[in-house]
């Protein structure tokens, strides 16, 4: 039996799922609140900038983007299989997991160039 | 016709067959061992055994005590050399199962736990909650998978044995999926096909328990021994006959009439033991035959409970409490809830005696060999001489291990001598038998299979039941003969080959009728009352002078069974009184 490399994606999926369960709804409520509460975007930008000075804060922000990306990519990838939508593994896997990786990299680039 | 060859063929994948296969593979890994069964091995009826499996393990217990209980329980009709061998090897087989992964129930310190069982003076029944047979069977099946020497033919139905030069040389079987007949030649054949309680209307047995192996041997002239001894289990569910294990009483359950009275004290099993403190061999822990007989008297006296599904008494577990019931008897609780809609924690379970176990079977010597060279028999289909006139609960699962191993080793020894017959030589007789089977498949007589089966089951219940009355016995014998004649006029509707269960049931009915014939003739011939064989009207007492003997039923060509007698091996326990409860008074009246 050939060893599957699924543990990598499953670990990321699991971490993302846990993160989304613990802060997902709260995060979405928070961004919805922006509509009513933000009066001064400049001030908010400044507050957030100072907050993101610390590398750990940047890492946390990265996690909030990257882990849900992997989580959702993983589910959608398997969902296509469930829906009998097939294609070469390299293509579908590349699209979902590769996409999540590329976007996470971009996110890291933007965050760490602040 | 397909053709195969093996060193050893084992018919039956229950506890006995699997244990034999493993023993053969261990004693000679070079052999080609074929395990053939009409159901996947884990479906075998060993799976239904609930209570437990005997083996001396407590320091204050002894092999002698186990020996004495077995011999007395069997009303001195046990071959004592066999019992001796059995008690000496039972514990080692239980340990072997433990080493193979069987989840025996434990004490808090992690050592083996044992429970009380009917007729045993000391707790020596190993158990795996109330699914002992299930765990034993699955452990054996899973363990058998690790031996490359063991091949399986699952869902192959054995229809005939093949005999060449006075030796059993193989068998004929139907591959149930294709319906094709297959000749299998072998140096040794082990029959491990289980019991035959399906000859009765109400029984604790699965639909597959149809006495096939007994009939297969009987038809080849091998005697069936002690067939009149059929054990009724005192606690089956009314209607279906599904078993409520004796362990329910071992754990402290009590039997009562409709008004809550513990009637067993009136039948020489008293004095009444305190609730929740069962005493070995007393009251509810008396032997099964006595308990079933007590029910019969209560029913005659009109003190039973009328349920939708017939008369019953109550098995009351309520005083054990939910926690103990859930820990020790979870399956019982589930069964009662599912099949009679009773939660044992809050209500008593209605129960009644149902046919359960065939003490008799294919006659073998103490090494499991039959009188037909090359043919061995083991497990419930065999009569190795262990159970006598009444089997003690938990001795039969232990028998599967002890004698299953022995049968496997014996067959392996024989197979190593290379006595195999060229399958080509078996072909003519195999083809003749196969043609008979084919004819049955397309038979278009007027008789209906289900009707014949039901008539047989009711006749056996009436004539060869808990109590045997001469007129009814004779009526049953006539009825069986009539049914055998009508069997020749059977009409089957299916006619196809692939998984034709009507065809297979018709063959099974043929087996059942042969077994019923042997049972009823042996019952009539035994003119005494002993163990499970009770003739209250004409021969109410045991008669050692004439009947301290095994009955042997042989099939007569074209006629009924002929019964002859074989001496019982007695080594150290002279026949005595069976002693239960505080007194030895028999069937008293209130």
């Amino acid at each position: 039996m050939r060893r599957s490399h699924e543990p990598i994606s499953w670990s990321l999926f699991g971490a993302g799922g846990m993160l989304l369960a613990f802060i997902g709804p709260g995060l979405i409520v928070s961004t919805l609140l922006l509509a009513w509460l933000v009066q001064d975007p400049q001030a908010l930008h400044a507050t957030l900038s100072s907050g993101l000075q610390h590398p750990l804060a940047r890492l946390a922000a990265l996690a909030v983007i990257a882990l849900p990306l992997y989580h959702t990519a993983h589910r959608l990838y398997h969902g296509l299989h469930d829906l009998h939508i097939t294609g070469p593994t390299w293509l579908l896997g590349g699209f979902f997991y590769g996409g999540a990786t590329a976007l996470s990299a971009l996110c890291a680039l933007w965050l760490f160039s602040l | 016709m397909n053709q195969q060859q093996a060193d050893i063929v084992i018919v039956g994948g229950g506890g006995a067959g699997l244990r034999a296969a493993i023993a053969a593979a261990e004693s000679n890994p070079g052999l080609d061992i074929l395990l053939l069964s009409k159901v996947y091995p884990m479906r075998s009826h060993t799976v239904a055994a609930e209570g437990g499996c005997a083996g001396v393990i407590q320091p204050h217990d002894s092999l002698d005590a186990h020996f004495d209980d077995t011999v007395a329980g069997g009303d001195w009709l046990c071959d004592q050399d066999v019992v001796d061998y059995f008690v000496r090897h039972a514990t080692e087989e239980n340990l072997r199962l433990e080493h193979w992964g069987c989840p025996w129930s434990r004490k808090p310190d992690g050592s083996i736990n044992v429970r009380a069982f009917g007729g045993m003076q000391i707790e020596r029944t190993w158990f795996a909650a109330d699914k002992t047979g299930f765990h034993i069977l699955h452990t054996l099946f899973q363990t058998s998978l690790k031996y490359p020497a063991i091949r399986r033919c699952d869902e192959y139905f054995c229809t005939d044995l093949l005999v060449e030069d006075g030796h059993c040389a193989g068998l004929l079987a139907i591959d149930m999926r294709s319906g094709e007949q297959t000749l299998i030649a072998a140096s040794a054949v082990i029959l491990a096909t289980g019991g035959a309680a399906r000859v009765y209307r109400y029984n604790t047995n699965g639909g597959i328990v149809t006495g096939d192996g007994m009939a297969l041997a009987y038809r080849q002239g091998v005697p069936l021994r002690d067939m009149e001894f059929v054990q009724y289990h005192p606690t089956g569910l009314p209607g279906s006959g599904i078993l409520i294990t004796e362990a329910a009483r071992g754990e402290g359950g009590v039997l009562t009439t409709c008004d809550g009275y513990r009637y067993l004290q009136d039948y020489g099993l008293g004095p009444e033991t305190p609730l929740g403190k069962p005493q070995n061999k007393q009251m509810e822990l008396g032997p099964r035959d006595r308990l079933s007989q007590a029910f019969w008297h209560e029913e005659q006296a009109g003190r039973t409970v009328a349920t939708e599904r017939g008369a019953a008494v109550y098995l009351d577990l309520r005083h054990l409490g939910e926690q103990r019931i859930q820990e020790r008897l979870p399956f019982i609780r589930d069964l009662a809830r599912t099949y009679v809609n009773v939660d044992a924690v809050h209500e008593p379970i209605p129960v009644r005696p149902t046919a359960h176990y065939t003490m008799g079977g294919i006659q073998t010597d103490r090494h499991t060999a039959t009188c037909l060279p090359g043919l061995y028999a083991v497990g419930e289909c065999a009569s190795v001489g262990l159970h006598g006139a009444n089997r003690l609960g938990s001795n039969s699962l232990a028998e599967l291990g002890v004698f299953g191993r022995l049968a496997g080793e014996q067959a392996a020894e024989r197979a190593a001598q290379g006595l195999a017959v060229d399958p080509q030589r078996l072909r003519p007789q195999a083809e003749a038998q196969a043609a008979g089977r084919e004819a049955l498949r397309t038979a278009n007589g007027p008789e209906r299979l289900a009707a014949l089966r039901d008539e047989m089951a009711c006749a056996m219940e009436a004539g060869i039941g808990i109590f045997r009355v001469p007129a009814q016995m004779s009526a049953t014998i006539e009825k069986i003969a009539e049914l055998k004649a009508r069997y020749q006029q059977l009409g089957l509707k299916d006619g196809s080959r692939a998984f034709n269960t009507e065809w297979l049931q018709a063959i099974e009915l043929g087996f059942l009728l042969d077994v019923a014939e042997a049972m009823s003739h042996a019952a009539l011939a035994r003119q005494e009352s002993r163990g499970s064989h009770q003739r209250p009207e004409d021969f109410p007492a045991r008669n050692d002078a004439l009947f301290l003997k095994h009955s042997l039923a042989r099939q007569q060509p074209g006629g009924a069974a002929e019964v002859s007698w074989q001496d019982v091996v007695i080594t150290r326990s002279a026949p005595g009184e069976r002693h239960y409860g505080g007194t030895t008074v028999q069937g008293a009246n209130r």
Partner: protein, 135 residues
């Protein structure tokens, strides 16, 4: 003669059984959650480009389309959280000779954690954004 019938799983298998429909709904939460994550990612991009771009993102987040997506994502996130936490005790089983934790405790801990995490985040946001507060 054997000629087994070989069934084929129909493409719409998941429509035929309520348990399958529940499963597919659970898996489908991934789609709005992914889109929402992309919105956030866009926010980070705009944030990195400066105040003006960030303000544009903020006001775009208040368009009906964006609000609708956030609404759906919220429903999806809630369903995800509930189903996820319920399954944790089946996966995360702590039971060794040295340490044993009752699965009910594991469940309780995760329920509390999720509640605390989500509420805490909302409270922190309110505190941060409240007109009189931090920003």
């Amino acid at each position: 003669m054997r000629k087994p019938w070989q069934p084929q799983q129909p493409r719409d298998w998941w429509l035929h059984n309520p348990a399958y429909r529940r499963y597919m709904l659970r898996e489908a939460t991934a789609l709005p959650l992914m889109l929402y994550t992309l919105l956030l990612l866009a926010g980070i991009f705009q944030f990195s480009r400066g105040e003006v771009a960030f303000a544009a993102w903020l006001s775009w987040m208040q368009t009906p389309a964006a609000l609708l997506l956030q609404g759906i994502a919220l429903a999806a996130a809630l369903l995800h959280a509930v189903t996820w936490v319920a399954l944790v005790p089946k996966i995360l089983v702590i039971d060794s000779d040295r340490l044993r934790i009752d699965p009910r405790q594991v469940l309780r801990a995760h329920q509390l954690g999720a509640l605390a995490g989500n509420l805490g985040l909302v409270v922190a946001t309110l505190w941060l954004l409240w007109p009189a507060g931090g920003a």
